[in-house]
Subunit: 201 residues, 2 copies
DNA sequence: TATTTTTTCGACTTTTGGTCGATTTTTTTA
DNA sequence: TAAAAAAATCGACCAAAAGTCGAAAAAATA
């Protein structure tokens, strides 16, 4: 029972890396098993299908990101910092981004989109909680919090996705965050530095 | 030269219908050619690859939607109406929506996403023009118009995509449109009726 | 040790996107 | 109008890749 789980994790890691490096569609099961040094039957002993593998890989990614987000949530930080930290923690890691650029942007749509949808699902409750905290502190002022958070999250996903975003994009984004959540103008502008600071073009 | 073009259009229509009915990935070339009653070689005489067909299908869709949008743009309507009409015209048609629900939402990610990206590309300039007109009339008030329009368009895409959107979603969306474009509160609330009016759950 | 369960193997099948040379149909040209 | 050229069609064939399955090896259990 132990060995099986380890093997599954091992396969998951290989698949994860290859999916990101070469794209989901461009990675064949044959390549994965070659890399892992196992037979096809073994692979299918652990995964029902290729798509099930993708699903599992995404679960792994989401779990990690949500984990990080929860840490931030638990820390004693000002609400606005929490919010931004969490959102930024959802940004694709450095290496993923770099590698992603080698690929055609169209090359990995399915994985990207599936991951995004799952992330929105998982992250909205967390972010909503933060924003509610902010409301009770008078930092934010809005109704329909959950819906607002969802929309903002969708927006940030798209900004990061495209990889490149201009200063103007960020400016507009910050403005929308402030206005959507009913924050005072300028209070969220520190987002800009955090975002553009971490950008690598 | 004439006949060829007609055949291509015919194939395009078949592909379009089948892609929407059964999803892009679930539609095989063999099925398309069976439906069209032609041989494989003939198909590949007109299309370089399956993906090229998807691209062409999407072009067809976009062309139609942009066409409708341009009509609206040319008409003599109040700016706010123009804006909303155009955005609503991008909503998937009734039948597409109904059929889409039969499918797993994950079933047609690639086509959906590619279409969305192309639409944003094509539609942003048109909408930006409308908003600029609105600014000069004092209805809107904002800078970085293009970026704002893009963000709002992305949002509406996502709302329509999911198929279901609650009243709250729409409420938040309207609020974001107003605030993002610097319109007076309430001036855009008629969007709500138009959107929810056309919804079919 | 005997038996059952878990894990592994790899040849085989099926599906599917794509190729290619031959053939027919249509258009151009001499 | 006949010959030549170009456009369109055909379908057998190919290669890649996902997925199957029964048998065998390894590990756990009685």
């Amino acid at each position: 029972m132990k060995k099986g789980e380890r093997r599954k994790q091992e396969l998951l890691k290989i698949a994860y890396r290859m999916f990101i490096e070469k794209g989901y569609e461009n990675t064949s099961i044959d390549e994965i098993i070659a890399e892992a040094g196992i037979a096809k039957g073994t692979y299918y002993y652990y995964f029902e299908s290729k798509e099930a593998t993708l699903e599992a890989v995404i679960d792994m990614m989401i779990e990690e990101e949500v984990g990080k987000a929860k840490e931030v949530l638990a820390a004693s930080l000002p609400v606005s910092m929490k919010l931004v930290s969490v959102i930024c923690s959802f940004r694709p890691a450095q290496d993923e981004q770099v590698i992603a650029k080698v690929l055609d942007a169209n090359e990995n749509i399915v994985m990207h989109e599936k991951a995004n949808r799952r992330l929105v699902e998982e992250a909205v409750p967390l972010l909503t909680e933060i924003v509610r905290e902010g409301i009770s502190q008078g930092i934010f002022d809005c109704t329909n919090t959950e819906e607002r958070v969802k929309m903002l999250l969708i927006l940030s996903q798209h900004m990061f996705d495209d990889g490149v975003f201009t200063e103007r994009d960020v400016e507009v984004y910050v403005d929308m965050v402030e206005k959507t959540l009913g924050a005072k103008s300028g209070t969220m502008s520190f987002i800009a530095e955090l975002i553009t600071g971490g950008q690598n073009d």
